[in-house]
Subunit: 230 residues, 2 copies
Amino acid sequence: MLDPRTSVIAERLAKTKRIVAVSSGKGGVGKSMVATALALSLSQGGCKVGLFDLDFTGPSTHIILGVAKNVQPKEDKGLVPATVDGLVYMSIVYFVGDNPAPLRGADVSNALIELLAVTQWGELDFLIIDMPPGIGDAVLDLIRLVKKIEFLIVTTPSMLAFEVVKKQTDLLCELKMPIVGIIENMKMDKSRLIQQETEKLGLKYLGPIQFDPAVEDSIGNSTMLMLTAI
Amino acid sequence: MLDPRTSVIAERLAKTKRIVAVSSGKGGVGKSMVATALALSLSQGGCKVGLFDLDFTGPSTHIILGVAKNVQPKEDKGLVPATVDGLVYMSIVYFVGDNPAPLRGADVSNALIELLAVTQWGELDFLIIDMPPGIGDAVLDLIRLVKKIEFLIVTTPSMLAFEVVKKQTDLLCELKMPIVGIIENMKMDKSRLIQQETEKLGLKYLGPIQFDPAVEDSIGNSTMLMLTAI
């Protein structure tokens, strides 16, 4: 059966030029940091940018940006996102709250679809999505529902992270999803291993981001974040 | 309906004295490294130890230990695990292979239950389980099926990791699951923040593990791993 929300979602995203899903097969690689910093950079470069936190396993962009509790989306024929540090901002945290109980199976997909169907983004040059880690059911649903989605993959220099990322890119390639490239986050040395492995996969190596302890201290302060290596 | 495998699982684990689930709400905190190092330490201390990798989102203990491809469990009234570096070793990787396609919803739980039901651990002082990140359906199934499971929680010094870990411990407390304590991995400074936050939760702070770049170089070599800070 066709979900009636599918066409609503297409309409909601019609005025968004590019949709970039920041993703990683592996958790804890700094995906949310990269997504937030990317959104802020594009915005400061003069683009109209939305940031959409769909990482139901642990939404954190609201912590990174230090979004005040009273900053909330408004209801008006759907949900109109608040503007945070120049970004049109929406997060699944508004849907699930800080409840420790995780969403189960189909509930996750339902929550994501619902948020996609109700959010009024308006005109955007970029919508940056902070994706759930890996490629579970919810991510496959997103791929099905959000046309013109492009993936930007985050890894760390660790081969444990890259091995998991590789499985993810294999699957994305099988699904014929466009991949912008791979970013190597938290780099601490000059090893070219991840670059070489990325190129072996036929993917673009977008470059390293040096590990910078100041990133942790910048949590909750986007001005400080933009002064770090990220 | 009662799953007939439930009583089989209880029987399979009857001769295991303690079952420690190494877990983290957040991915990428070094959970698999901690689980592997813990299993190796206990084993070198003279205990009989099993290591069970159930992290279906990206099994990696076989990479950390450098398990050769021809080292496999043997079929004999179930699956008899191979012995790797002194550990009785089993991993979901033997079930799912290196297939990039992730298991979907109920398949995950089924695979975990199946592995629990067929693995012949024999007598063990400790069974260390490398858990999937977070508390999804599969983890809830594990909790239901494996009695006397105790949780050992891994975090990093990052508040982004700890915020997610906190939700997980809240939920484990609600479920009345015993928590051995919290380990702070990849520590780089002398901050007492995570220790204080852990104690605020009424949980035991098991101590920090200093960040050590040699851990990455030890991947695939358990002797080297045991010489690192972990």
